[in-house]
């Protein structure tokens, strides 16, 4: 039962979805403040190389994830400066982050006589819950079989949801993203909040990259995200800027990919390239279908001021 393809595939989808989930959650909070950061791919790469380096140095998972997150913060600060203070086109600033992140991480990972790319980290990421629970049919592997970081991601999802809709700070964040002028007049610091949550987004992406290198791949590879950051950006939109839906979207995206491979093994007479398209086509269709219904579209709409720099005295 617990080694049925279905159960195992769900577990795999969760593993594969977790790095993207971290990045997507971070980006959701960033975009909720009205800042769009397309540099997720770059921040994940930077977080990945830093986290892996820390992992190699300390062998401690949490130190490594923290290091990855902080690297993401530092990197996202560049975007914050450009997008918020200098009011640079946010799409451009984001793309520039991707390019710089790619070059910087590859450089760091391949220099020296003991480059990271050839090192292996002693970091252990094992299930934490007792065998008894893990053994339970179906729910065992799916719910109880994961490493602590997966549970952390679930906590963060719940936390982010609570934060957004049940706390004063969350209210402020939503207000800033919806109507910065009103938030400003209400005494909130629009710039401050936008900076803060741009950095938070960087942290999420950094942790995602570090987890990808340390836990999912177990090694560092240059350009190892290979587009995962872009998928995170897409899933934010797909999830309608909602943490719970982001969790769902990340796992489903992973599952759809696995589905493509499962179909290949089953020997369906469809070229593998077309099976590889499945997750992207499905994402495309879902977004279109959602937006096709104005009522639904409004409910999962983007924060009203997304991508618009705010300046108090402009009119």
């Amino acid at each position: 039962m617990n080694d049925s393809v279905l159960v195992l595939s769900i577990v795999s989808a969760i593993v594969a979805g977790t790095p993207i989930l971290f990045a997507a959650l971070g980006e959701i909070l960033t975009e909720r403040s009205g800042v769009m950061n397309l540099g997720v791919e770059g921040m994940m790469l930077i977080g990945g190389v830093t986290g892996f380096w820390a992992g190699v140095q300390t062998g401690n998972l949490w130190v490594a994830l923290l290091a990855g997150g902080l690297a993401g913060v530092v990197f996202s600060a560049v975007h914050a400066l450009l997008a918020i203070s200098l009011r640079v086109n946010q799409i451009v600033s984001g793309l520039a982050l991707v390019i710089v992140g790619n070059g910087l991480s590859s450089y760091w990972g391949t220099i020296g006589d003991a480059p990271l790319i050839q090192s292996f980290n002693g970091v252990q990421v094992d299930p934490i819950l007792p065998e008894a629970l893990r053994g339970l049919p179906a729910v065992g592997p799916i719910l109880f079989g994961h490493d602590p970081v997966v549970y952390l991601s679930w906590l963060i999802v719940a936390g982010a949801g609570y934060f957004l809709y049940r706390t004063n700070a969350g209210l402020s964040l939503r207000a800033v993203g919806e109507d910065p002028a009103a938030a400003d007049a209400a005494g909130l610091s629009v710039t401050g909040i936008r900076y803060l949550f741009t950095l938070v987004g960087g942290f999420g992406a950094g942790v995602g990259g570090a987890y990808l290198a340390l836990a999912v791949l177990g090694t560092w590879q240059a350009g190892m995200t290979a587009g995962a950051g872009w998928i995170a950006v897409a899933l934010v939109i797909l999830a309608g800027w909602r943490p719970w839906l982001a969790l769902l979207a990340s796992y489903v995206f992973g599952a759809l990919r696995t589905l493509g491979f499962t179909l290949q093994i089953a020997g369906v007479e469809v070229p593998s390239d077309f099976l590889s398209m499945i997750p992207f086509v499905v994402t495309f269709l879902v977004v279109v279908i959602v937006s096709a219904n104005p009522e639904r579209a409004r409910r999962v709409g983007a924060p009203a001021s997304l991508g618009e720099p705010y300046s108090r005295e402009a009119r």
């Binding site: 004063n168 700070a169 209210l171």
Partner: protein, 519 residues
């Protein structure tokens, strides 16, 4: 807490300029505890700028502000609020997608982590009770009428314990009864030792409801006088520096039984932005040479009605006829081609494209027609020529050839729109709040243009929340409420009292409101 009559706020030599345009120059201003202080001035005189500086929104270039004798620097609305200064802006600053209660607690310090609205709602109820400001705490802002939104803004300031309340042109959007209620609230606050700064263009409001009045002209002080010593003509002089203001001559309502209708609307239904019905079965007729005015409180479907007539919003049912043409389904361009001119409420953003130059904006509707373009190729010389003539004929000022129109002033923006709309051949003029926020001179000019329309046998459909404007111009006055035409008067049969009641007939018009933050 300062004793009544004591000066609590003092402004010295305030300077603030935008794009090198001085909005406030060496402005001095002082406010006493428990007084209602009027702030009077033409458009762009600098009233809002002064207020925004006091509210911590704008940083002055130089000058001193002191509270209770202490020099203070108000670097943000938050700091101003901490000093007990609260402002209700000309354009409301509420988040439409949040509820009243959420907007009230937004940005308040010391709220703890959890968002607890119940406490807020009870406290709100109390204040609302005390000042007679009834609103539903859990309603979404976008559901509220403009009047209700204004009450939320005032509540918000009181809730934050503001002792100095700044109201920037609060009555511009209110029906007479609402205005009266507002002034009761204001007076009540003054009695509670709060101080109120009341910005307005309207002489009678200033004379009727303030203790002292400060007049600004061209960003400079024109003087401060106790209201009881002041007369209308004196204030007007201080405002525009001329002895007498231009006469807004009342005109003869025409008899129009014989005239044939140019615009016929039958049982029109229109849906609002939020999918809720905004116009439910409105019917009316505009005849040649007739001005039909539609009075109503903002948010009763006027905007959707205008947009439906202009073709910007589909009608769910009913019909619109221009002359004998059915234009119910026609595109905006088609309507303008067959003779509908439209002066929208939102000048910058709808009436004009803010980033384009004045020239480009003046041909916004005729750029496809020769001589402005042939076979899709624009002729800049022809466009420049047209622009030059229009700018002269309609006396549009402050326009520079390659400058974005967003830098132009309110009145001049309106002149530009009229210039473009009125010079296209048309049978019907659809005008929405054409003089909102304009000063006396600009207002007179605009009204002159509107009247001139009827002389050439055109029909005019005029929407306005300014009752005076409606009564002054219209041959037929309709009242719109809850998306319906609920009353009809000729200037003779007009009963302002009753009309006001009709306008404000029901208070829960909210459902038809979309954010309601007028341009």
């Amino acid at each position: 807490m300062a004793a009544v009559g004591e000066t609590i706020l003092e402004v010295r030599d305030l300077n603030k300029s935008f794009y090198g345009v001085a909005a406030n120059e060496q402005v001095n201003f002082d406010l006493r505890a428990g007084e209602v202080h009027g702030l009077l001035g033409e458009n762009g005189a600098g009233k809002s700028t002064l207020c925004s500086v006091l509210a911590g929104l704008y940083r002055p270039d130089s000058g001193e502000i002191s509270l209770d004798g202490q020099r203070v620097s108000l670097r943000s609305p938050h700091e101003a609020a901490e000093h007990g200064i609260g402002m209700v802006y000309q354009h409301f600053r509420l988040v439409p997608s949040l509820t009243v209660a959420e907007n009230l607690v937004l940005g308040l310090k010391g709220q703890g982590v959890r968002l607890t609205l119940r406490a807020v709602e009870t406290r709100v109820a109390e204040i609302a009770e005390e000042y007679g400001l009834s609103v539903h705490p859990s309603a979404y802002i976008w559901q509220l009428s403009v009047g209700e939104q204004q009450r939320v803004e005032i509540l918000k300031q009181l809730y934050r314990g503001a002792r100095i309340l700044i109201l920037d042109e609060p009555t511009a959007v209110l029906a007479p009864q609402e205005c009266e209620k507002l002034f009761e609230v204001v007076r009540h606050m003054a009695d509670q030792d709060h101080s109120v700064v009341l910005v307005s263009h309207k002489m009678e409001e200033i004379l009727g409801h303030t203790d002292r009045v400060t007049v600004l002209r061209g960003g400079r002080n024109a003087g401060t006088v106790p209201t009881e010593d002041a007369t209308a003509s004196q204030l007007a002089t201080m405002m525009i520096g001329a002895e007498h203001m231009p006469e807004a001559g009342q005109h003869e309502p025409r008899r129009i039984d014989d005239a044939e209708p140019v615009l016929t609307v039958t049982d029109l239904h229109v849906t609002g932005d939020r999918g809720t019905p905004a116009v439910n079965g409105a019917s009316l007729e505009v005849c040649r040479g007739q001005i039909v005015g539609i009075a109503g409180v903002a948010g009763n479907g006027q905007r959707e009605f205008q947009e439906a007539l202009a073709g910007l919003r589909p009608a769910t049912s009913g019909s619109v006829r221009l002359g004998d043409r059915d234009i119910t389904a026609a595109s905006p361009r088609r309507r303008s081609q067959v003779g509908l001119a439209y002066v929208p409420e939102d000048r910058l953003g709808t009436g004009l494209a803010s980033g384009l130059t004045i020239e480009e904006n003046l041909v916004l509707k005729s750029y496809r027609e020769p001589p402005h373009s042939r076979f899709g190729v624009l002729s800049s010389s022809a466009i420049a020529a047209t622009a030059r003539t229009l700018v002269e004929r309609f006396d549009v000022r402050g326009a520079r050839r390659q400058m974005a129109v967003s830098l132009m002033s309110g009145g001049n923006l309106q002149r530009a729109i009229l210039a473009r709309e009125l010079t296209r051949s048309h049978d019907v003029l659809l005008a929405a709040s054409p003089t909102r926020g304009l000063d006396v001179a600009a207002t007179a000019a605009v009204r002159g243009h509107i009247r001139a329309e009827t002389d050439d046998g055109r029909g005019v459909l005029l929407f306005s929340e300014d009752l005076a404007e409606i009564t002054e111009l219209s041959d037929l006055i309709l009242v719109m409420s809850r998306g319906r035409i609920v009353g009809s008067y000729t200037p003779e049969t007009l009963d302002v009292e009753e009309l006001g009641l009709l306008m404000t007939g029901a208070k829960d018009h909210g459902a038809h409101q979309d954010g309601g933050r007028a341009a």
